[in-house]
């Protein structure tokens, strides 16, 4: 890639939830804003824009990461997964989402997308994750509504259902 001029927009292409996407971005455009404003995928939320709250968490090449601490130009050619790709279709929920609904793992839902992305990766890569490991992953997310107890319950319920099943 040549040096990209900061005053201009440049074409960026990557894989989003399994499908190729592309759009134009100035070098300074954050991945979170690229997803929301250029692609129009608003499942990824933006809270603090400083890496602290976790609302903007997406998977970049298989690892949950802050999309607000990543430039769109950095993910050229990468594989991005967001909360929008978790369920098989618009009318269905994945096991994790179902558990969050059943156990009141969310109230306003602002933090939820990021949390689901992190937990989905954890249970895929480490199905036997301990409660302490689940808590460590959740420590990367702030929720101002639930007080975390119901989130933890939902996570454990989902893990139980997922064990022995193949994971979406």
């Amino acid at each position: 890639m040549p040096r990209l001029n900061g005053e201009r927009r440049h074409r960026i292409a990557f894989t989003l939830d399994g499908k190729p996407v592309s759009g134009e971005a100035e070098p300074r455009l954050l991945l979170s804003d690229f997803l929301r404003h250029v692609i129009g995928e608003t499942g990824t939320h933006v809270g603090c824009e400083q890496g602290i709250c976790g609302a903007c968490t997406v998977e970049i090449d298989g690892r949950p990461s802050r999309s607000c601490l990543t430039l769109a130009v950095q993910v050229e050619g990468a594989e991005i997964r967001t909360v929008a790709g978790l369920a098989a279709g618009p009318e269905t929920l994945c096991v994790l989402q179902e558990a969050f609904r059943a156990r009141h793992g969310l109230q306003c839902g602002f933090c939820t997308g990021g949390i689901l992305v992190s937990l989905n990766a954890l249970f895929r890569d480490k199905p036997e994750a301990s409660e302490a490991e689940i808590r460590e992953v959740l420590s990367g997310h702030l929720c101002r509504c639930t007080g975390y107890v119901s989130i933890m319950e939902a996570a454990l319920a989902a893990q139980k259902r997922l064990s022995g099943k193949t994971h979406a």
């Binding site: 890639m1 005053e7 070098p27 300074r28 954050l30 990461s65 607000c68 601490l69």
Partner: protein
């Protein structure tokens, strides 16, 4: 807020990166994991003309065991080091300290060398590098040099790195026979920067204590062996000599008390692990 405008360059070779850095003088910043730089940009505390993204440079993406040390290239992410096979055996202190560096969602991007370059006084990896007496390998277009960790860190977010230099790699000595290690820290919440952090390293002849988060940079001192009666006095002297910082999170007095208590616990734990 949103970052100010800058050019972006993601070279594939170190030669291109070093040339760009030399040509722009202080106007170019290295972009590694971005976990400290991006917040500075969005808050507009930094206004570089150019970001040089070094993460596409294959030659810098390697972790290597060589000459009794683990050498970690500039492009190695913290999560990659965490999952390096046998890390806890090669160097237990690294395996102990890494989980305290931010969150899994920041370690996935943040690099080891980026944390050393950032030189935050509370950061865990600079403390571990100092406690183990590791090396920082610097390279510019003109020259290469290696500095001992103690000579590299010079103050709050300040280091001996020149504007045209990149930290090409850092090396942490591997664990020797009969060595024990411990890491402790105090934070308000998991994943926060440490109010005070402690890295203890005990071998057959000596005991060492590194302290982060208390002074303007991490400091290391030889200590009496745990179990000997001079330890209390030595910890007390260390606590005062660090000239503890005072901030929103903790008073200087509280930090001194942490040095006395957690410093002792860390040394005792390292001594137990030696067996």
């Amino acid at each position: 807020m949103k970052p100010p405008r800058f050019d972006y360059f993601a070279p594939q070779s170190s030669a291109e990166a070093l040339a760009a850095l030399a040509e722009e003088g202080g106007e170019a910043f290295i972009l590694a994991g971005g976990q400290s730089l991006l917040p500075l940009l969005t808050m507009r505390l930094a206004r570089p003309r150019l970001l040089i993204d070094i993460m596409r440079i294959e030659e810098w993406r390697e972790i290597r065991l060589e000459g009794g040390a683990i050498r970690i290239g500039a492009g190695v992410r913290q999560a990659e080091l965490e999952s390096f096979p046998g890390l806890a055996r090669h160097q237990p202190l690294l395996a102990l300290a890494l989980p305290f560096v931010g969150h899994p969602q920041t370690r996935s991007r943040g690099t080891v060398c980026g944390s050393i370059a950032f030189a935050d006084p509370s950061a865990e990896l600079p403390l571990a590098l100092l406690a183990l007496e590791g090396q920082v390998h610097l390279r510019s277009r003109q020259r290469a040099r290696s500095l001992a960790a103690a000579d590299f860190f010079t103050g709050t977010m300040a280091s001996a790195r020149a504007e045209d230099e990149v930290i090409e790699a850092v090396s942490f000595p591997v664990a020797g026979e009969g060595c024990g290690y411990a890491f402790r820290e105090v934070t308000r919440r998991g994943g926060d920067f440490a109010i005070a952090a402690f890295a203890a390293f005990v071998d057959e002849r000596s005991a060492r204590l590194g302290v982060g988060g208390v002074a303007d940079r991490p400091f290391l001192r030889f200590m009496p062996r745990p179990g000997t009666k001079d330890l209390d006095e030595a910890l007390d002297a260390f606590a005062f000599d660090l000239e503890a910082r005072e901030d929103l999170h903790a008073s200087a007095r509280y930090r001194r008390e942490l040095v006395r208590r957690l410093g002792r616990l860390a040394l005792e734990e390292a001594e137990r692990c030696r067996a």
